[in-house]
Amino acid sequence: MSHRSAALAVAVFMLGMTSCGRESKVVWSGLVIATNVPAPTPIPAEFSWLEGTFKGIFGYNQFQVIGQSRKILKTGEEDWLAKSNYFALHVDSKGTTRDSYLLNLKLFQQEKLLLETDAKLSKTSPLVIKGPQVGNGLLVLVLVIE
């Protein structure tokens, strides 16, 4: 009887672990224009905690979102688009590991493919891509698992 109870407890634990591993996550993807202005607007809430890091990396004081997508990933094999007037970021999730997603990213300028990359996006580590210069600023792609 005690062996059966132990086996049942182990089975329930394993099931719990499995279901925890498959919980859905939200990926925020953004097209961000970084510029230097005399009176910068507050940094968007989605990555406000990265403000100091972003200013240090790019040397700009304002970060404005021009296109974004918040995608709930259930299977880990979804795709989505974050777009602005002239740019589009296509994200194709190819699968999932324990704490991350394997992504194929394509940055389009209208119809033109500017950049393609394969990346592993981790829950504890945002992914940032420096894009082309736009006017006096810079296009930055940001991906964060919320």
């Binding site: 950049l115 990359t117 082309p132 006017g135």
Partner: protein, 170 residues
């Protein structure tokens, strides 16, 4: 000189006779109560004799009993499946030790393989990773780094064509 208790025991057992019996019975303070006690003691004695007698064995019976026990034991070993005595558990100290050691070994092996898989390329599994990148401009160059603060993974692309400011529109 017998004590009162010795005489009383002998009286119950019916071993007092003659003058000794008469004197003892005359010395009893309550002969009726003593007679009742004697009767109960004799009944108890008879009952015990009856019960103990049922289990007692003669030498011959005891020998046969031992022989049968020996034969049953040897047949049990020969069959390869000795019956487990009630209350005996499979988890002996030796088996517990072996099971513990085996579990520890499995844990170490699993940990080794998991750590090896997750440390591919010398990068922490907690960090995002850029696995590859392609740009349309052959003169563009790419670098990858991680910031210490917030563990941000950065793909730094230089050499992309600059665009006019109207491309910053939402």
């Amino acid at each position: 000189m017998k004590t009162f208790e010795e005489k009383f025991t002998a009286w119950i057992d019916g071993q007092l006779t003659g003058k000794e019996l008469v004197e003892f019975e005359a010395s009893l303070p309550d002969k009726a109560a003593a007679e009742l006690e004697k009767e109960q003691a004799q009944k108890l004695g008879a009952f015990l004799k009856e019960q103990l007698g049922a289990h007692s064995m003669t030498n011959e019976e005891f020998f046969h009993h031992q022989l049968r026990e020996q034969i049953d034991h040897e047949e049990g070993i020969g069959a390869g499946a000795p019956a487990r005595r009630s209350g005996e558990t499979w988890w002996t100290i030796g088996r517990l030790l072996w099971t513990g050691a085996a579990s520890l070994a499995v844990f170490i092996v699993c940990t080794f393989f998991i750590m090896r898989d997750e440390k591919v390329g010398g990068q922490s599994p907690l960090l995002s990773q850029v696995l590859g990148a392609r740009v349309d401009n052959p003169e563009a160059n790419i670098s990858i780094f991680e910031t210490k603060e917030h563990k941000v993974t950065v793909l730094w692309v230089n050499g992309l064509e600059s665009l006019p400011s109207e491309y910053a529109a939402q």
